[in-house]
Amino acid sequence: MSHRGGLRIGADVGGTFTDIVLERADGGYESTKVLTTHAAPEQGILEGIESLVEVFDIDLADVDQIIHGTTLATNALIERRGARTALVTTHGFRDVIETRTEGRFEQYDLNIVLPTPLIERRDRFTVVERIGARGEVLRPYDEGSASDVIDALEAGGYNSVAVGFLHSYVSSEHERRFRDQLAARLPDISISISSEVSPQMREFERFNTVCANAYVQPLMASYLVRLRDELRTRGADCPLYLIHSGGGLMSVESAAAFPVRLVESGPAGGAIFAADLASRYGRDRVLSYDMGGTTAKIALIEDATPQTAKTFEVARTTRFKKGSGMPISIPVIEMIEIGAGGGSIASVDSLDQIRIGPRSAGSEPGPAAYARGGLEPTVTDANLQLGRLHPDTFGAENISLEPDRAAAAIREHVADRLDMTVDTAAIGIAEVVDENMTNAARVHAVENGKDLNGFTMVAFGGGAPLHATRLMDKLGLDEVFVPPGAGVGSAIGFLRAPFSYEAVRSFYTTTADFDFAGANQLLDELRTEAEAFVRQGTEAEVVVERQVSMRYKGQGWEIPVALEGGDFDEFAAEMITGVFTKAYEAFFGRAIDDVLIEAVSWSVRVSSVVEPPPRLEIIDDDAAGVAATSTPSRPMYDPTTGATTDAAIVERTSLEPGSAIAGPALIVEAQTTTVLGSRHQAIAQHDGSLRITNVSTDGGR
């Protein structure tokens, strides 16, 4: 890579804030937060960059790379602000995206509302054609019927067209024929075909994914071009790359063609941030815990690689419930997101139980203590009541905390209803939200066949350091890192991402008559496809990771298994059986004899080799010895002992490497506060991270 001035910029456009991080050649960085400019998000980015340029007196010509992640595509899907889009599908299958799974995501609610399909019925058209499950033509492509559809598309004034035909993941021939016929007639229309966007079996998920791509494509393409042009105009003549949902970089061209891959790119940056920190400290099993104002997100990272999945859901409409959103089948960093943030509202249900969220007071009106009109108690209000936050040290600009308002809200909505003191109610709110996050982390681990024993937590985002030690205790973990820059973690994470692309395709074969030649050819094609994307951004050395998802014949859920070694040969079935059996045992403890194994979905991920970050030596108890200076203490509730004790207050900026803080303590900084219970201690590390451990090792879970 060419070195101009060795500067790199990460830009994360979120729902509320746009975070800009400027990294220097020596690895140090500066950051700024500006409000997101929803109408033209590039303005916020430019404004943020300009302010860094001014304050730190740098030249944009010295910037090597700008890496960008954005919620723009996600928000367009949630807010239904996309192009006028049509879906063209196989005759007989017009309503796949509307009839969904035919299930109800909530079993006990008579009034559930199913998500409205992204493309409504009148905008869905069918072509006479049909491909079978083996790629055979069951019904030839009917050019006449296609022509009629194109007439309707023209008359309807559509800007973008999604094409999803049955079994196109096996044979894309008919989809491509339709695309060509359409492009010849209407060259200005933007076209997405499902065999390119997401060649995975299961029509509901694939059609929905291609619809999402088509829906946001014109918007994203024009945004990306505007952003690149504006940056150039201002002198940033360096390459611009996008971060995708799988946690890698892609070119502007790829992003403009497959914008659906930008969905969830911000959270992906957070997971990379945590993965990077973990590898600096040589930790190979990490729980990434990001808590903001509205939600908490938890991801698992092993060997510096976040867990990935092939499908996920966006725009959940009901309490983050599985099934209440839109499925998107693309490779994604897997995380669980629950309605547990600082702004999450506490209430009491008919069982006299405290419930938290998913409703959030957000930043407007905000927690009751903000005195901006919020009257319901939130997690932040409970933290204030319990002494974990304090008006004098609360960092957010322009917000003064008013403890009386927090107490009044807790009293009215929780304490009085449960005949408790305000303090007890606040403890209840904090405990319930901590338990919710704990359970979410456990479920997520179970779903991935993992046991959290021995995992290290990396806590970031404004809310996480307040709750991290309690989660550590509840989950039985031994170690938590609170990195510096936790407020802009995603944008920093962008700068650590490799160029990568994961190509996925469904291909069905069993161990009875394993089609090893077909599998070899498929893996080759996937590799070629993935590498082509990566080569748009880098000439660097690449690593290739191949994976196949398998199950016992008759099961419905597949286990991803990494494929080592070279091409398959006639002994492939035995080899596959061996690796699958091992993986199955890891998940469920026990393999099953004598049942055939099916391979369903295949993927190849090509990524550029990223130089591993320099290893950091851990400063542990023995080496420490620099006592932190603290200002006068204040009373804080400590959940480990169930008592209120005096907690030391320590300014994080006053810490040096080796500074040791014994709990109970509050380590305060501009964007958050780290809470230590009486059994915890923190030692500041060389990079400014706090490493928190248990003082006693009496198994104090």
């Binding site: 035919e102 009034n111 069982l351």
Partner: protein, 542 residues
């Protein structure tokens, strides 16, 4: 703030533990879904999992797709304690049964129960149920005349005795079922998910420093009982009745209920219901009770978790000899078809009392089918394949919302992808689309059914076991809403096809299924003009 000893926050502490217990059973259920071979378990959530106190009272149950397991499962553990005998319950044991009257209503559901010991004291049980791929006998269908023909019946027995697998029983199961590996695999899966639950529970008790579950169980039952009785106050005391006629197997079946609401609960009596059928569509009373209880909970207290105390106030009775009170050895294999209508039946009874809550009738019973794909030419070497598909019509319109299109209710079943179905076997789904005009009109419109066209792949024909209801008797509208369209079944050349019983779909024909729509709610003339216009724009109504 003042020091807060833990005692003052014991309510919060109990709540945390209760939530944890629910998380434990959810994890237990998830393990089962992930490993199950049975299509209905993994696609339909046809399973349940729960934790019980030492007396066999259910403390927590995972929310799964099957209301039919709500009460049946809750009662099952009591039978296990009784039949095994308290003195024979030992650490390391695992028990099982598929007795329809002690488990969940038909032989295909296997219930596995595992006792939990802590410091050598019995503190409770985990139990789980799953629908297995096959249980022998005639195969899945309504054609048996007695339960003996429906397959292997395993009385309550030890599957594992103090850590030792009962190999004799394994051999008996293996030699009595088709797909023995999958069935035995699923039984092991049930035992494994209970074991997951047991381990997690012991970890939890360590963490919270509890010796047993007794205090927590009382807390859960007290809170739930209070909330359930509170919810019942929304229905004025008194007696409510309803009747509903559905197609039945070979003759129409009338389902009748009299609900009595008192201070302490609700009782459903099914006197007036049609007599037993000679076919396997009969329903054990506990299964009918489950769909009655489910109906009342969704209407009155949807946020209450299921446990002994939330179910206790809901009781049932029926005279002997009615189709909702099957007795050993009546055939009961497809008890779900009529069982699913019990929910609409009971909701209908309280519709006048709760006019803002109860929806119109929906398509109710699922349009599931099993197609046995057979080679047309037996010498062709093509293998026979069993294919199962779940499909749902429309639900009834709600007081303020339209019904749901192509959605299961009261079952929580999901359909399978057409592409996945075609990957598994020689079936081609030629069409699966919204069936226009099938929802009953009303101020709120009934959910639409779908229209499906399916046929065998080349070289095959289908032996088809049909079990479709609401072909003769549509879902009724409510408060002036119109009825939904009834279903229809025929071959693509117009040949009629019976909605019940075994028939053949020839290799060159396609079967067409028009699934019923839900009933409408309220006078169609009162429908919002924009909603009516949108129905036209989208072609829901033409």
């Amino acid at each position: 703030m003042a020091t807060t000893p833990r005692a003052t926050s014991s309510a919060v502490h109990n709540q945390i533990m209760w939530n944890r217990l629910i998380a434990v059973v959810e994890e237990q259920a998830l393990t089962l879904i992930r490993t199950a071979f049975s299509t209905s378990v993994r696609e339909a959530g046809d399973l349940s999992a729960g934790v019980f106190d030492r007396e066999g009272r259910m403390i927590a149950q995972a929310v799964t797709g099957t209301p039919g397991h709500v009460n049946t499962m809750a009662a099952a553990v009591g039978f296990f304690i009784e039949d095994i005998g308290p003195e024979r319950i030992q650490p390391g044991d695992v028990y099982l049964t598929n007795d329809p009257w002690k488990g969940t209503g038909h032989l295909h559901d296997i219930t596995v129960t595992t006792p939990v010991f802590r410091d050598e004291h019995l503190i409770g049980f985990f139990a789980s149920t799953a629908h297995v791929v096959d249980i022998g006998g005639r195969g899945y269908g309504p054609d048996a005349r007695e339960v003996y023909e429906e397959g292997l019946r395993i009385p309550i027995m030890k599957w594992v005795d103090r850590g030792e697998l009962n190999r004799d029983l394994v051999t008996i199961v293996r030699s009595n079922v088709r797909e023995a590996d999958q069935v035995v695999g699923d039984i092991h899966g049930l035992a494994a998910c209970n074991e997951t639950g047991r381990r997690r529970l012991l970890e939890m008790l360590d963490e919270f420093e509890l010796a047993d579950l007794d205090a927590l169980a009382s807390f859960v039952f007290d809170r739930t009982r209070r909330a359930t009785l509170g919810a019942l106050e929304h229905v004025p005391k008194g007696t409510y009745t309803n009747e509903m006629t559905v197609d039945g197997y070979d003759e129409p079946v009338t389902l009748a209920v009299t609900l009595t609401v008192t201070d302490t609960g609700m009782h459903a009596d099914f006197t007036g219901t049609s007599p037993l059928s000679p076919w396997g569509v009969n329903v054990p009373l506990t299964y009918a009770q489950a769909y009655f209880t489910y109906a009342m909970l969704v209407a009155l207290a949807p946020e209450l978790p299921n446990n002994f105390a939330s179910l206790e106030p809901f009781t049932v009775s029926a005279p002997p000899g009615v189709i909702l009170n099957a007795q050993d050895p009546d055939p009961v294999a497809v008890r779900h078809v009529l069982g699913h209508f019990v929910t609409d039946l009971c909701l209908g009874a309280i519709a006048e009392a709760l006019p803002d809550v109860v929806p119109a009738e929906g398509s109710g019973a699922l349009w599931n089918f099993q197609a046995s794909a057979r080679p047309i030419d037996p010498a062709s070497g093509l293998p026979p394949v069993e294919m199962l598909m779940f499909n749902s019509g429309g639900t009834g319109a709600r007081p303020t919302l339209d019904g749901l299109t192509a959605t299961a209710f009261p079952s929580g079943v999901m359909t399978m992808s057409s592409e996945a179905t075609e990957q598994v076997g020689p079936m081609i789904v030629w069409r699966k689309e919204i069936r226009e005009n099938s929802g009953g009109l009303g101020r709120q419109r009934g959910g639409l059914g779908t229209i499906m066209e399916i046929g065998p792949a080349e070289g095959y024909l289908f032996e088809f076991s049909a079990m479709f209801d609401r072909v003769e008797n549509p879902a009724r509208g409510r408060h002036g809403g119109q009825d939904g369209e009834p279903g229809a079944v025929y071959l693509d050349d117009g040949t009629p096809f019976a909605s019940k019983g075994r028939q053949t779909v020839p290799g060159d024909r396609r079967l067409i299924l028009e699934l019923p729509g839900g009933g409408g709610f309220g006078d169609p003339a009162e429908r919002d003009a924009e909603a009516t216009a949108n129905d036209r724009r989208q072609g829901y109504v033409t």
